[in-house]
Amino acid sequence: MSAQSKPLLAADRVRLYLTLVPYLLEHGQVSLAEAAEEFGVTPEEMRSMVEKLTVIGLPGDSGYWQQPQEMFDINWDLLDEDDVIEITNDVALRRVPRFTAREAAALLAGLQMVAAVPAVSDSGLIAGLISKLSRGAADAPAEVVVAPTAVDDVRQVVARGVQEGVAVSFTYQAPDAAPMTRTVDPVQILITNAQWYLQGWCHMRQAMRTFHLDRVSDPRLTDIPIEHGDDSVPEAFAAAANDGEVSVQLPLRLAPLLGSFLSAADMRTVDGLVHARLHLADPRGIKRIAAKLGGGLEVVEPAIARTATREWAAAGLALYHQPDPSVRTVD
């Protein structure tokens, strides 16, 4: 819940007040910094909102101004001198409001997503939470369903490595490479686009690496305590310094399919055609991405990548007795 840079809209501020008041009443005295962190605003923003709380109150009566006890009030000295918030008079908003339909929907979908995480599924808390959130919503949330994914042995073993803080050893087979044994201090399991990745310190490479769990087999828990658990995880699919660069072009409508491969800094769009530079450990690896986009993406440079792509497609077609007619073959 880090401080956000976007200015708050009036509705955001109202929503914030409705939860801030019961939060402050529950907690008594709260430092400005802590409240700001909790509500995702800057300390200055929080100070201003708390100061303005004191102009909120019960309606006046037929032209009379409100009495002081009919308004919210705070301990001004404490705020000014110690940066601590304390409500000294409250007139309403004492209870935490129900969840909005959107809040409930966002959390309900999130729960379905995390249900696959072994640390969560072991807890057996999901069903109860789903029922509490549904019952606590002000209006029926739109149903947002996340289809469950299978958690196989590889995922279970690697997850145990993360939870128990020991290195895992496994056979790893990257595309177009021979299988290797890798031993990794697991730091985090990233689950995105329905794929599971292990991020951790590779004993052989002596560096943080990301491993696709579909390419992992025969995982074993070691008894080696992890030594790099506190290292920050790498940007998931960030380019490495010695990665090759591949120039491609594709129609703008297909660009989202490249997802994390595409960074705004490395693309320009001319007449609906995106020209982009992608970073891959082996430039020839672009053949798989190009083939997935079925001819929509054209590999421009380097020649080695373009040739690899052409040959990849030709070799695939050859399985169907439709060899590239421009290439003479001897059967």
Partner: protein, 331 residues
């Protein structure tokens, strides 16, 4: 005296406080005369009809924030709202007191609230978690080592969610692969479904009066939310029906494939395959999506059947080959 400019959030929050503090309700006139934010405008000579419009907008705004505003009309003529009274029933506003969350549950919810990468949905999830923390619950140690992520990049997601919440018919152009032009669809949307990392909307196709699933990535242009409503009862159990439907489709569609052992195709497809006398069987729900994936494997996989899938893969590989011919190459 010039009326001081009262910010919208101050007027809205004062309105909530006023409507909460009244048992019998306040009339519109009482609100405009007495609630801070309206009162000053009325004093400054703002016309009554302009203030009434502002009040109507404010009520809508608060309802989207989950604040229940009850309208108590004339019992002898419920449609006559001239003397209507407004109030916020505390029992409908408060998070029910019997809903409690344990520290372990809060830890699970915090993880669930962290999965959204879309900014607006993420803000909703965080706001929901904040309400629970405002109850005074401090969570267990956060669940670390797992980073599940949900993305919702499709522009149709937000309008569809709104349409489901309000039970409103939507219209959009839908482009099926293999068809030349998109076709206009009218749908009663019932649920959003994330299946294999792709968002779908499940709903009733109005023209054929049958439940269907639509891929959001195939929606061309904008999703229009119409003024036409439908019975919210239709939404009951829609998510379960959608998932059951997908399972039925997957069970009845199976591809027979030959894969080269030890390759990326063998690893990735093997996870969801069953062995067959010739190669492997892989279930699928969408022929075109599977064809994209199979094309990416190039010569690592050969489609034996079904024939339309075989043709789709050949078509893709041929297009890739065509896009990567070099000019000097003989045709």
């Amino acid at each position: 005296m010039m009326a001081a400019r009262i910010p919208a959030e101050e007027r809205l929050t004062n309105l909530v406080v006023a409507l909460m503090a009244t048992e019998i309700g306040l009339t519109k006139q009482q609100i405009l005369d007495n609630v801070s934010g309206y009162r000053q405008r009325a004093d400054a000579g703002t016309r009554t009809d302009a203030l009434e419009k502002m009040f109507e907008r404010d009520k809508d705004e608060l309802r989207t924030l989950g604040v229940p505003i009850e309208t108590i009309g004339d019992p002898s003529d419920p449609n006559d709202l001239r003397e209507a009274r407004y109030r916020i029933p505390q029992a409908e506003y408060d998070l029910p007191a019997d809903i409690e969350f344990s520290p372990a549950e809060l830890a699970v919810l915090r993880l669930a609230g962290s999965v959204w990468s879309a900014e607006s949905v993420s803000a909703d999830a965080q706001s929901g978690v904040r309400k629970i923390r405002a109850l005074g619950i401090d969570g267990d140690e956060p669940i670390i080592g797992f980073a599940p992520r949900i993305t919702a990049r499709d522009p149709g997601f937000a309008p569809l969610q709104e349409a489901i919440e309000k039970s409103r018919v939507v219209e959009f152009d839908y482009l099926k692969p293999g068809e030349d032009a998109p076709r206009r669809r009218r749908i009663r949307p019932l649920a959003l479904v994330d299946y294999e990392a792709r968002w779908h909307v499940f709903g009733v196709d109005v023209d054929i009066d049958a439940e269907r699933m639509f891929l959001l990535s195939r929606v061309a242009g904008e999703v229009a939310v119409t003024g036409e409503g439908f019975d919210p009862e239709l939404r009951e159990g829609a998510g379960d029906r959608a998932l059951a439907g997908l399972d039925r489709v997957a069970a009845s569609n199976s591809a027979l494939l030959e894969v080269t052992p030890g390759t990326e195709a063998a690893l990735r497809l093997g996870r969801r395959a069953t062995a067959a006398p010739q190669g492997i069987h892989v279930p699928f729900v969408d022929l075109h999506i599977l064809a994209d994936e199979l094309a990416s494997y190039g010569p690592e996989v050969r489609v034996v059947e079904p024939e339309p899938l075989r043709r789709a893969v050949i078509e893709r590989l041929s297009a890739v080959l065509e896009a990567h011919r070099d000019p000097e190459e003989a045709r």
